[in-house]
């Protein structure tokens, strides 16, 4: 049981931060930004590059988050805002193009080999009947800690209130004196930084490689959609639900069906599990499971 909980927490922390970042900015930009998962990849490589120049890991991480946030703001101002004038599907295709450019640039600079932050191994720690490594604990703590901080920011501070106002009704928010441009840039910066943090944590527990963002694309979008796009805490809950379904599917022993022991669903089918959950959830709650909005008929 403890092993199950640990597995779920590890998998949740892999996708949660990036999904929350996506959700935070979605209600503002109103188009699915495919390049968002590449910000995670950029952040992971940024931390790696800064770490290799001699900075300690935590400082490299902060530097990479700030840099990725800036990149996200620049791309939004220079590219996506202009594309949005032609419609959200054009902007989505534009984000796909940006995605490919980012991958090509990183591939050209860093190559296709996977990298790790340190050449040593992370020592395993025994917690009761389960084993977890220091890197995994760091990733879980960082992930949940940041989501908690984000919740505090959004619901307890003035800045957060402005962000939520802008997200739900930009015109009304502007009318009440919220500075639209600054808040949008602030939210975009935040989403980029969150993605970079998520990507670095993923690079810590797995490895830093060019495909890191693309591997995240489907689970992150599934988690964000499940929680309701525009609802950041919903995205965190969506990530939790996705990882619970994935872990359940691969942990359940179907031996009783065949009369033997130890028959498991092959890990290759794991994404199918989360997408079945997504499909079922969307059939009943199309706007996400936490949807509370009243919509006019």
């Amino acid at each position: 049981m403890l092993q199950f909980i640990v597995d779920v927490l590890i998998r949740t922390s892999d996708i949660m931060l990036v999904a929350v970042g996506l959700s935070v900015v979605y209600s503002l930009v109103k188009f699915p930004n495919i390049a968002h998962v590449q910000y995670a990849m950029l952040g992971a490589f940024g931390t790696l590059a800064l770490n290799r120049t001699g900075l300690p890991f935590s400082l490299a991480l902060i530097g990479a988050c700030i840099a990725t946030g800036v990149v996200a703001v620049l791309l939004n101002v220079l590219v996506f805002k202009r594309l949005l004038r032609s419609g959200s599907s054009i902007a989505m295709i534009g984000s796909l193009a940006i995605s490919m450019i980012l991958i090509a640039v990183v591939l050209g600079i860093a190559g296709s080999r996977p990298f790790r932050y340190s050449s040593g191994l992370s020592s395993p720690i025994t917690l009761g009947s389960t084993i977890i490594s220091v890197d995994q604990i760091t990733s879980i703590a960082c992930g949940f800690g940041c989501v908690a901080l984000l919740a505090v920011l959004l619901f307890k501070t003035g800045v957060g209130r402005s962000m939520r106002a802008m997200s739900s009704n930009p015109a009304l928010a502007a009318a009440t004196g919220v500075d639209g441009a600054r808040v949008v840039n602030g939210i975009t910066f935040l989403s980029g930084a969150l993605a970079a943090l998520g990507g670095t944590m993923l690079g810590l527990t797995e490895s830093v490689h060019v495909g890191l963002g693309t591997n995240l694309l489907l689970p992150v979008f599934a988690a964000a959609i499940l929680g309701g796009l525009g609802n950041p805490l919903g995205a965190a809950a969506g990530a939790l639900l996705i990882s619970v379904s994935e872990t359940l599917v691969t942990n359940l022993d179907f031996g009783w069906l065949f009369g033997t022991t130890d028959v498991y669903v092959p890990v290759t089918y794991i994404s199918a599990a989360s997408f079945v959950i997504l499909l079922v959830a969307l059939l009943f709650r199309p706007y996400g499971i936490f949807d509370r909005e009243v919509r006019r008929v």
């Binding site: 597995d7 296709s112 191994l121 395993p124 490594s133 890197d135 890191l212 691969t250 890990v267 794991i270």
Partner: protein, 366 residues
């Protein structure tokens, strides 16, 4: 005036043509498709070195048919699509009569089938899936296939009183072949393979696969995986505490080529014998040129592949694929760096010597 212009043009054209054919006629070119990038890049580099050493050796002894030998190396990228376009380039643009390659069975089989369909000779220098036997007439292997390695591994594991094991290998023709062969042999000896996991290549984590294997509480883990993926598997096995049990690697140098030594410490396994009776000169030449010990066991098979091809071309008397195919059958038994090479009826290596090895900061004999 017009006639003079035509005369000029034809003179220039024929001069260029003769230069081109003259330069082509001065070298005999072979082709090689190797994993220079991708999960097996470390082994691919070692294979390339083996080929370079063989070319130097051949050219120091009068070359092939009195001409210089040249091997054109193309990257397979670690996937079949790129490998096939490289093979296509070698066969149609470079017009080589022999193509060596690759390393992963899932890539060697399509490349080999393409090359023999085009009428050329294919030499397998690194793959071992039993499915390679079916590539067809014109394909030869200088390395033994997995029916031989699985028998050796099953016997070696069983002899250590390990009767209940879990098995993991990649989900491609190599992994499927070695998994079914090992399971067959191990169970015929009386052992039990409680879990067989075929992992998808190219993932960045194999935690769930490892957890599924560990649930059946085996006495030992038998594995075979490509360099980068094996590094992930070994690291995550260490993080999950699974490395405390015995790990047995089939082709241990491939499995540990990119692994952090601490994670693989204490592993045992089998490896293709890389330095046979005639192999001391190979190892010496390798150390002299590259200033380090051979990186894996597979460089010497690439070396032997080129040497056997050169010998066959010399015997055939021409760089003609059909003649080379016939000559390959008669140029053996050949004493190479990896021992005596002889082919069975399907062109596969008849006897494959294996070494019992263990990992002690690097792969050493047991």
């Amino acid at each position: 005036m017009k006639f003079a212009k035509e005369l000029c043009i034809s003179a220039v054209a024929s001069a260029l043509l003769s230069i081109a054919t003259a330069s082509a006629a001065q070298t005999v070119s072979l082709g090689a498709v190797l994993p220079l990038t991708g999960a097996s890049a470390s082994v691919g580099d070692d294979q390339r070195r083996g080929i370079e050493l063989a070319v130097e050796q051949v050219n120091a002894h009068n070359g092939v048919l009195g001409q210089k030998l040249q091997v054109v190396v193309e990257d397979s990228g670690g996937n079949a699509a790129t490998a096939l376009s490289s093979a296509r380039k070698l066969v149609s643009v470079n017009k080589v009569p022999v193509v060596l390659g690759e390393f992963s069975s899932g890539i060697t089989i399509p490349v080999g089938e393409y090359v023999v369909q085009q009428g050329d000779v294919h030499i397998n220098i690194g793959s071992s899936s039993p499915a390679i036997r079916k590539i067809g007439e014109g394909s030869f292997s200088v390395i033994g296939l997995d029916d031989l390695s699985a028998r050796f591994a099953a016997g070696d594991v069983f002899a250590q009183s390990l009767k209940d094991v879990a098995f993991i290998a990649p989900n491609n023709s190599y992994g499927q072949g070695v998994a079914s062969e090992f399971k067959k042999r191990f169970e015929s000896l009386g052992g039990k393979v409680s879990s067989v996991v075929l992992y998808s290549e190219g993932q960045s984590t194999y935690r769930r696969e490892l957890q599924q294997m560990s649930r059946s509480s085996p006495q030992a883990y038998v594995y075979s995986a490509y360099g980068q993926e094996a590094a992930t598997i070994n690291r995550e096995a260490y993080e999950l505490g699974l490395s405390k049990k015995k790990w047995y690697g089939i082709y241990l140098t491939m499995c540990t080529s990119d692994t952090v030594p601490q994670a693989a410490q204490g592993q045992e396994g089998l490896e293709v014998a890389s330095i046979g009776a005639g192999g001391k000169t190979y190892e010496q030449a390798y150390r002299e040129k590259y200033k380090e010990a051979p990186k894996s066991s597979f460089g010497s098979y690439a070396y032997d592949g080129v040497m056997v091809a050169a010998a066959a071309i010399n015997k055939a008397g021409a760089a003609d694929p059909a003649k080379i195919r016939a000559a390959m059958k008669t140029v053996v038994p050949y004493n190479g760096a990896t021992g005596t090479i002889a082919f069975d009826d399907a062109g596969q290596r008849k006897e494959q010597p294996y070494d019992k090895v263990k990992f002690d900061t690097k792969v050493v004999a047991r």
